[in-house]
């Protein structure tokens, strides 16, 4: 069939024969005579062609005839069609350059891909396909793509309702599509374009960023995979640096030992030990409180570092206890006979260690005697409990280390969670066998 025959005629004012001026605003076109102001009726056949063309053009993200430079080649958008597979709909623009041929721009959910038709068939490898050096995995199958709207020029006369059977294979950033009907079979590779690239070429709105709840395109690469890959060396380096810092600062030195004893249920024993010299600016102190003899009771030890000059006090307390017995399961015991106290940020100076001790024993093995001082019966004759204190400068704060570790890991873990949510939403669309480990691994690859 020869290219369609067309005739040209002038459109002039039916009333006075004068020149018609065309004004376009948004979707509407007005055709009015410049001389007498008569408007051309919308039902006039020529007016219909003009307005219909204009309406379609006004609705397109890239009006037909627009030129744009993409990857060094100037392209003109000559045709547009809209297709659906029953689930989703998308737009396709045909780009043309007489010396470079044709390309496709596929717009779906605000994302743009550049499509090129292949001249050589892909290689098969298991269920995957390989083109160039890129491996594609099956994604969509058994779908039928149908044209719902079409406008402009195409190298074949596209009609609304045309159907092809479509099968798609993906890798991050690329989709390999097979389309066939009874007369032909064709392969196309489409590459997802960045917002900058498509915006610079055709001035379209940038693609929307993914948020949890949205469904990514089948070939949309996970932005979180990129970040995880870039970040984990930094995390490892930070971990090593943290280890170094922890060993540098986690020392204790110059232990000094003190001891005192207290009688269970006796009066509070208070004793001051010292001097304890702190030469450096700010120090933490470690106090080990051991009460090896406590049994069936507790010992409450309050310690306070008191600066001799300023009388500032830095306090902590330990509660040592031990209980044991026998029951149907055998011997049991609970409690700790030794505690390690860590006191923070003592400024330089000379300190006294003020220790207050109180002990208690449950169940007496001695005799009771009336104590006039407190007005109660008190057990007497209980052996005294010995308290051994070891005071050292510095402290190893493992808790600081783990807290820092956690803070270092939180951002990459957050990226991992988001990546999993993204890939779950993306792979949920996959036809055929459900997504397996290979699909997840492929999602981590770079385009």
């Amino acid at each position: 069939m020869s290219p369609d025959d067309s005739s040209v005629r002038t459109l002039s004012c039916p009333a006075c024969g004068g020149t018609i001026a065309m004004r376009a605003a948004g979707y509407t076109v007005t055709l009015a005579c410049e001389y007498c102001g008569t408007l051309i009726d919308a039902t006039h056949p020529d007016a219909r062609i003009i307005t219909r063309y204009h309406e379609v053009q006004a609705s397109l993200a890239i009006p037909l005839g627009t030129r744009g430079k993409l990857r060094g080649v100037e392209w003109e958008a000559i045709g547009w069609l809209q297709r659906t597979d029953g689930w989703a709909a998308w737009d396709e623009y045909l780009l043309f350059n007489p010396y470079a041929g044709y390309r496709w721009l596929i717009a779906q959910n605000g994302h743009w891909s550049l499509g090129t038709m292949l001249t050589a068939m892909p290689q098969r490898d298991g269920g995957d396909l390989i083109v160039g050096r890129r491996r594609f995995s099956p994604f969509y199958s058994g779908s039928t793509a149908r044209v719902t709207r079409v406008a402009g020029e195409f190298y074949w006369r596209v009609k609304v309702g045309e159907e092809v059977r479509a099968t798609d294979y993906v890798r991050p950033g690329f989709m390999l599509s097979l389309e066939q009907d009874d007369r032909e079979k064709s392969w196309t590779i489409s590459e997802l374009l960045t917002g900058q690239e498509i915006g610079a070429a055709f001035d379209v709105a940038p693609p929307p960023a993914w948020l949890p709840g949205m469904t990514p395109l089948a070939h949309q690469p996970s932005p979180y995979a990129r970040r995880i890959k870039g970040w984990w060396p930094i995390a490892v380096l930070s971990f090593v640096a943290l280890l170094v810092l922890a060993t540098l600062f986690g020392w204790t030195a110059q232990p000094q030992g003190f001891s005192l004893s207290a009688i269970p249920d006796g009066p509070t024993v208070s004793q001051t030990f010292g001097p304890i010299q702190l030469p450096l600016g700010r120090q933490a102190m470690t106090v080990e409180v051991e009460t090896p003899g406590v049994e069936q009771g507790w010992v409450d030890v309050d310690v306070a570092f008191v600066d001799r000059k300023t009388q500032d006090s830095y306090d902590a307390y330990a509660l040592n206890e031990h209980y044991s017995g026998r029951d149907s399961d055998g011997y049991w015991s609970e409690g700790a006979r030794a505690q390690t106290l860590k006191v923070t940020s003592l400024p330089a100076g000379t300190y006294d260690l003020v220790v207050d001790v109180q002990a208690h024993h449950w169940g007496s093995s001695g005799s009771f005697a009336y104590d006039t001082a407190s007005g109660t019966y008190k057990a007497e004759g209980l052996p005294p409990v010995e308290i051994v204190l070891t005071v050292a400068r510095g402290a190893r704060f493992a808790s600081n280390f783990w807290l820092a570790m956690l803070m270092i890991l939180v951002p990459p873990l957050l990226m991992l969670v988001l990546h999993i949510m993204f890939e779950n939403a993306r792979l949920a669309q996959k036809d055929g066998s459900p997504a397996d480990a290979d699909d997840w691994l492929q999602g981590m690859q770079s385009p």
């Binding site: 005739s7 002038t10 018609i20 062609i49 005839g65 045709g79 041929g101 406008a151 402009g152 195409f154």
Partner: protein
Amino acid sequence: MQSLACPTCGAEVVFRSPALPVRVCDYCRTLVVRYSQSAQAMGETAVLPFDISPVQIGTQGQCFDQSFSIIGRVRWAWDDGAWNEWLMLLADGSHAWLGEAMGQFMALREVKLAGSLAQMIRRLMNDAPVMPGESGNIAGHSYEITDIRTVRCIGCEGELPFTAPAGWEALSVDFRNRDGRCASFQKDRHGPSLYVGHHVTLASLQPRNLRSLPGWSLHPHVA
């Protein structure tokens, strides 16, 4: 693009796209409406592009390790589209064909239909139906059918090794494989013929004397 005479003043009015329905004449400022079947069906049907190609008679280049010159053309069409076949005269005096469709080029040379032939070729020669996707061996390589159409010759120009009869119709089948090779089978009133070759890009032909198209600068990689 199409250059038409303004019906009012006779000045040249250029329609860059066959889909464009109206242009303002630069001289008399009247609206010139291009009325066609396809323009009527905007939204429902596409229009076919104007018959322009970057290749023209006289274009020269390199193919099959030789220099060539384009000396003729046959244009084939089916209901909903068309393509060109350019006749190449190679330096050694033999002929080859440069098929141009959808912006893709196939460089083909005729081979004798003799000896052991693939099943699919035999079936085509016997007018048995084939489907896209069927594969078989041609001249030592495996190919798959990619296109099957009944076509009509709608134009010829230049020097051709035959006379194109009026109403010339043929069955045309295209094949391609994984390496970029391609083949083409044709059967008409006079019998079957088979062509084998490979896909080329316009740039890889190192062409000279391409048609210059107004509004388009020659592609950077193409002379």
